[in-house]
Chain length 228, copies 2
């Protein structure tokens, strides 16, 4: 508070989310309680975020839903943004890793079969990440286009990372002659957009018929188009 230029909440962020600085104990009772509480907070937060939107949910509601005291929230998370980041961490890591892996494999691939296999692997890895974390994925789809300020920042940042990585992959695929020569950004965004919209509506309970057919239909649609 010495220097002026009064920013309200400033960006002081020495440490980030996590149970606390996880002082020292062992793999015993404390660690167990910690895990339980952490999960309770994440679970309650996620449920409320999906129902009412990240920005409208208050810390009081979250602690109420988790059945803990308010002070405990602040032992585990710095603020709401921190909680969102924690909720998204598994998805963010899974998706980022899958995209990075695909890029690396593609760079080293020499045959078209290898290339196709890389894309197939990518699709499988993404599908696994989605299926393992449907609610966080829905939150991402629901709020991921918001401005990168406040509690939604982690969501928007993930969306931007996904876009950039996908553009890279698209560029590689195009250079390998696997795609028609549209600008890579255009192809990538169209594919992301179609995939995300379909995923969002499925996760919203929209009736899309036989769900097991959707992924195949999407790929067929994207690769060969809608024209009969």
């Amino acid at each position: 508070m010495s220097s002026e230029t009064a920013k309200k909440p400033k960006k002081k962020t020495p440490r980030r989310h996590g149970p606390a600085e996880r002082p020292g104990p062992e793999g015993g009772k404390r660690a167990e309680n910690r895990r339980r509480r952490l999960r309770a907070i994440e679970r309650a937060g996620l449920e409320l975020f999906l129902e009412r939107g990240v920005e409208s949910v208050t810390i009081d509601e979250i602690v109420g839903g988790a059945g803990i005291a308010k002070g405990s929230f602040y032992r585990y998370f710095r603020d709401k943004e921190d909680l969102v980041e924690a909720i998204m961490a598994p998805v963010a890591e899974g998706v980022t890793a899958a995209l990075a892996k695909a890029e690396q494999v593609l760079d080293e691939a020499t045959t078209e079969a290898q290339q196709r296999a890389a894309y197939f692997e990518l699709a499988v890895a993404l599908a696994q990440a989605f299926i393992a974390n449907p609610d966080p994925v829905k939150l991402y789809l629901q709020e991921g286009r918001g401005p990168a300020v406040g509690a939604r920042r982690p969501l928007r940042q993930l969306a931007d990372r996904v876009m950039e990585q996908t553009v890279k992959l698209t560029r590689i695929a195009r250079e390998h002659g696997l795609l028609r020569p549209f600008p890579a950004r255009v192809s990538a965004l169209a594919v992301i957009g179609a995939t995300e919209q379909l995923t969002f509506r499925v996760l919203s309970g929209e009736d899309l018929g036989d769900l097991s057919k959707v992924p195949g239909d999407l790929i067929s649609l994207v690769m060969d188009g809608l024209r009969p």
Copy 2:
């Protein structure tokens, strides 16, 4: 109030947005002031919503941005949701009308040429609505997947209407043999998703190369796919 039995702010909504019930005057100075103020509020609100998200913006910030007193806001709008609805009205009407018109024309079309013309007209009408209201469209794309509660309700409702109408059109097109036989909802959502994502990123200032080529590329991509 252990759980939630009563509605917090209730849904009392006797009248809706507008300058007021526009008492009586004429086409003179008062009406002029009214219009100016209305536009100032909408402009300030829209700018803040895009920058920081609908739910995070306060009424005080809006009146500050518009340069008016707080009481005046409430003369023109019931609350923030009401303002959002007003901001989106031109787009909502344009899009809804275009989709309804296309449905009607398609129902009466007898030749394939007429059908194709109807889709072309639709594309033109939608493009016009987008170009005439880029900021509201961006707001819709940014927040339109949020839950249909609070100030974002009008945005989500518009998104749902767009989806339903597009599904209808897709179904008609498919029955006319213009599309491959994917489930109509799947095709429709894929097209909407690709279109909206591309539009959102264009409006976010993303570099997509020659912008005049994007619509054509999108159509080509959707109709004939990415495969070379």
